[in-house]
Amino acid sequence: MPPIIDVKDLCKDFRTFRRREGVWGAVQNLFVRDRITVRAVDRVSFSIERGEMVGYIGANGAGKSTTIKMLTGILVPTSGRIIANGFVPYRDRRKYTKELGVVFGQRTQLWWDIAVVESFKLLKEIYEISDHDYRQRLGVFSEILSVKDYLYTPVRKLSLGERMRCDLAAALLHNPPLLFLDEPTIGLDVVAKDHIREFLKEVNRVSRTTVLLTTHDLSDIEELCSRIIIIDRGKTLFDGQLADMKARHARYNQVKFLLKDRSQVGRLGEVTNDGVSCNRLDELTYVMRFDRAKHSTAEVIRSLVNRLEVKDIFVEEEPIEEIVKRIYITGGLSA
């Protein structure tokens, strides 16, 4: 089976003009415009198989949203090719969007003034969902997303978390094989985040829905995606399994430990030598960080327990945020 999303050499340029400052500048702007072309997405290629959940990450302005907007057919690419679910998104817009689910965390896709259930009824007509499927799916979503409680509330009166759940339900009402999520957990509390992640896992498991999501919260990725694509300044820096990324780009390991009592604090200096740093988390909890290439974890722990009286030890991988940050800084070259 061909991949559900196939992107080849995708580019997007935005043409704009430099605005001069001040009143005189505004007058000049009327007559002379310095055109500048900004390349937001630069020869990005990837393909995604049916049923995959892929995290698409990058710093602000890296080109994530622009890519998503091209994938959903909102923007027309400057050059390159996208085939998604068998369609060219912008060209076959109406056929393509009929089998597509999209959620933008920043703004709702629902009608602002009308009750949630009325929005759903409109969507039922728009996507030509049969009565049977509609009732069945609404039942399922009411159950696991607990949207039942606010079905009759106008969208504008919902909290962010409630609105997000309704948006997700709305995006999946027509059971699309492909789902795009742009920052689906932005601004949500821990419970709501968890709820939404569980729901996405369930949808992916049951319907084999392909999911591409962008996020700034890397715990979303760790919870949901086995594969990530990192983009920066319009270019792909990494594309592969999350485990591979850790193996290739993680440089440090961490050993967190709890001291037996306060008398041990003074002797901490004995365990920090070259390449091993030690930071305080709270009164008795400290974390040592060391280069995996220079020290083995066993050796570090041995020297720790030999010198200090320690109550508890936890070995941790380098946090994914740190790894990703390093990939941004080095441009993906630190293999």
């Binding site: 602000n60 907007k69 909102i74 817009r93 109406r94 009308i114 009325e118 409109l122 728009i126 030509e128």
Partner: protein, 263 residues
């Protein structure tokens, strides 16, 4: 087509429900719209209290013309609300993203997401005044005249829509609010008087560039039994279809040029 009719009915019902939920707001809008219409007719009356005829046109003939110009315009006003705020709402605030994500024609969504319900009043008032004029002028109408009348109202509606749709589509290329809509909007008033009172340049403009003449003057001459613009009368459906086709083409080209803002 059938699906779009169903959707239209749903959109309309949904919007009406929301709008009527704020009763006071709606009544004020309705009342002020009514006042504006009545004042417009009042102006024609004041004008004719000073002069007996305007280039051979009697009071009831001018009244017919005026009423004919506001009838299709009323229909246009019902659906054009989003066109006025298109640049601000849909382009700058990027609401057009959502429009593009739905498997329904973009134009359908933009026109039928909101309705200026109070403008139905203009249609009803216009038809009422035309009925009075038919009686006062002692016009003998056959069924075919009534049918032609309906066709001409639809053509007028399409002409108004085409002109303002083309202007609205300009927002796809120029993000800054374009100041071209208000002057064209003011040109609507030219269509309320016999085209022959203007100079050749304006007559040409109102026929072939901004064809408001085809939305009021040319049809009216025929209904009043004046023969001098017969060809123009029968050309009206063609002009309406041609301009509408062109406007939709410009719109669709603009959609491809849409550059959504923000993240």
């Amino acid at each position: 087509m059938k699906r779009h009719l169903r959707l239209f009915a749903l959109y309309f019902a949904q919007y009406t429900k929301v709008r009527l939920a704020y009763k006071g707001d709606f009544l004020i809008a309705f009342f002020s719209s009514m006042v504006a219409t009545v004042l417009g007719f009042g102006f024609v009356w004041v004008l004719f209290s000073k002069i007996p005829k305007l280039q051979g046109w009697s009071f009831y003939e001018i009244l017919f013309l005026y009423a004919f110009s506001i009838t299709p315009l009323g229909l246009f006003n019902v659906v054009s609300w989003n066109l006025y705020e298109f640049g601000e709402q849909y382009i700058i605030q990027a609401k057009f993203d959502r429009v593009l994500l739905r498997p329904v024609s973009t134009l359908f969504q933009v026109l039928f997401e909101r309705f200026r319900l109070e403008s139905f009043q203009e249609v009803v008032t216009g038809l009422g005044v035309i009925y009075i004029c038919i009686i006062k002028l002692n016009l003998k109408w056959h069924v075919s005249d009534a049918m032609w009348f309906a066709v001409m109202v639809v053509c007028g509606f399409l002409i108004y829509l085409s002109v303002f749709l083309s202007l609205t589509a300009v927002s796809f290329w120029f993000e800054d609010r374009v100041g071209i809509v208000p002057p064209v909007f003011n040109m609507l008033t030219f269509g309320r008087y016999p085209l022959t009172i203007y100079n050749d340049f304006i007559q040409f403009m109102l026929s072939w560039i901004v064809p408001f003449g085809f939305a009021s003057f040319y049809p009216t001459t025929h209904f009043l039994g004046r023969q001098s613009f017969r060809t123009y009368f029968y050309l009206t459906p063609l002009v309406a279809i041609a301009f509408f086709t062109l406007a939709v083409a410009v719109w669709n080209r603009g959609v491809l040029n849409y550059s959504s803002t923000g993240s």
